[in-house]
Amino acid sequence: MNAAEILDNMLGALSGELTDGYDLISGFAERQGRMLSKQAEHLAMERIDGFLADDDELFAFFIDGMKRDTENMVRSIAMLTALTIEQAWNAVANALWGGMRTILAGAGVPPNLLPTTPPLMA
C-alpha cells in the first residue's frame, strides 16, 4: 500500500459517510417540515371554526408548542450533523490507521503492537 492508495481509501470512506449523513438529515428535515406545516394548517382551521375558536389559552399553548418543537427539530439536526462529522472523521482515521498498519506490518513491526482500531481522542 502506498500514499496514493491510503488517500483514495480515506476519500472513499469520507464520501460514503457524508452521503449517508446528508440523506439522513435531509429526510428528517423534510419529514419534520411536513408535520409542522400540517399542524399549522390544522391550528389555523380550528382557530377559525373549531375547538380553538374561543380558547385563547389553549391556542397559545399550541402556538408556543410549535415554537419549541421547531427549536427541538433544529437541535436534533445539529446533533445529527455532529454525528455525521464524527462518523466522517472516524472513517478517515480508520482508513489512515489501516494504511499505516499495513505499511508498518510490511516493515516488520509485530502485529500485536498494532491495535486494529485508532485510539479515541479524549
Binding site: 439522513l24 380550528e46 408548542g65 455532529a82 479524549a122
Partner: protein, 169 residues
C-alpha cells in the same frame, strides 16, 4: 512532473497524519438500546390512547383513561431521566461550552442540547400528554383537539426516535 505529483501526494499524507494523528473522536453519546426499546414501547401505548379517543371523548369518560395517561407520563418521564443522565463524551462537553454552541443549543435543563437532543423532545412529549389529560378531565376532548395533540406528538416522537436510531453506529 510525475515526481512533483508524488511529492504532493506524500506531503498531503504527511499533513493528514499530522492533523489526524490517527485518532478517532466521539461527539455524541453512545447508542442506548434500552432507551430506544423504551421509546418504541411507550410509543405503541401512546398511539393506542390516541386511537381510543380519536373520535372525541367526554369528561365523564376520562376516568376510564386516567390510568393510561398515568402510565404514559410515568414511562416517558423515566425515559427522559435516562436520556438526560447519560454519559456525554468529554470532547462533546468541551465543544458545548463554546459560545456559539452554548448560545444556540443550551437550555436551562440541558447544557448539551445539541449533543444530547432527546431529553428536550421527550420533555415536550410529557408536556403535551399532561395538557391533553388535563383538558380531557376538565372539559373532554373534541376530535379536532385530539388531532392537534396527535400532530404535536408525531413531531416529537419522530425527533426522539430518529436521533436515538441514528446513534447505532
Amino acid at each position: 512532473m510525475q515526481t512533483l505529483y508524488l511529492a504532493h501526494r506524500q506531503l498531503a499524507l504527511f499533513f493528514a497524519l499530522f492533523l489526524f494523528s490517527g485518532c478517532a473522536i466521539q461527539l455524541v453519546p453512545d447508542y442506548d438500546q434500552a432507551l430506544l426499546d423504551g421509546l418504541n414501547d411507550a410509543n405503541t401505548e401512546a398511539l393506542t390512547l390516541f386511537a381510543q379517543v380519536e373520535s372525541g371523548s367526554t369528561a365523564e369518560e376520562y376516568p376510564s383513561h386516567a390510568r393510561d395517561y398515568a402510565v404514559l407520563i410515568g414511562k416517558f418521564g423515566a425515559l427522559r431521566q435516562r436520556a438526560q443522565s447519560r454519559y456525554v463524551p468529554p470532547l462533546a462537553s468541551r465543544l458545548a461550552e463554546k459560545k456559539i454552541i452554548r448560545d444556540f443549543c443550551a437550555s436551562e435543563t440541558n447544557p448539551n442540547g445539541c449533543l444530547n437532543a432527546s431529553p428536550a423532545s421527550i420533555g415536550e412529549i410529557l408536556a403535551n400528554i399532561r395538557r391533553m389529560r388535563d383538558l380531557h378531565r376538565e372539559r373532554g376532548l373534541q376530535s379536532g383537539a385530539v388531532v392537534a395533540f396527535r400532530n404535536r406528538y408525531d413531531i416529537q416522537i419522530d425527533q426522539a426516535l430518529t436521533v436515538e436510531n441514528a446513534l447505532k453506529r
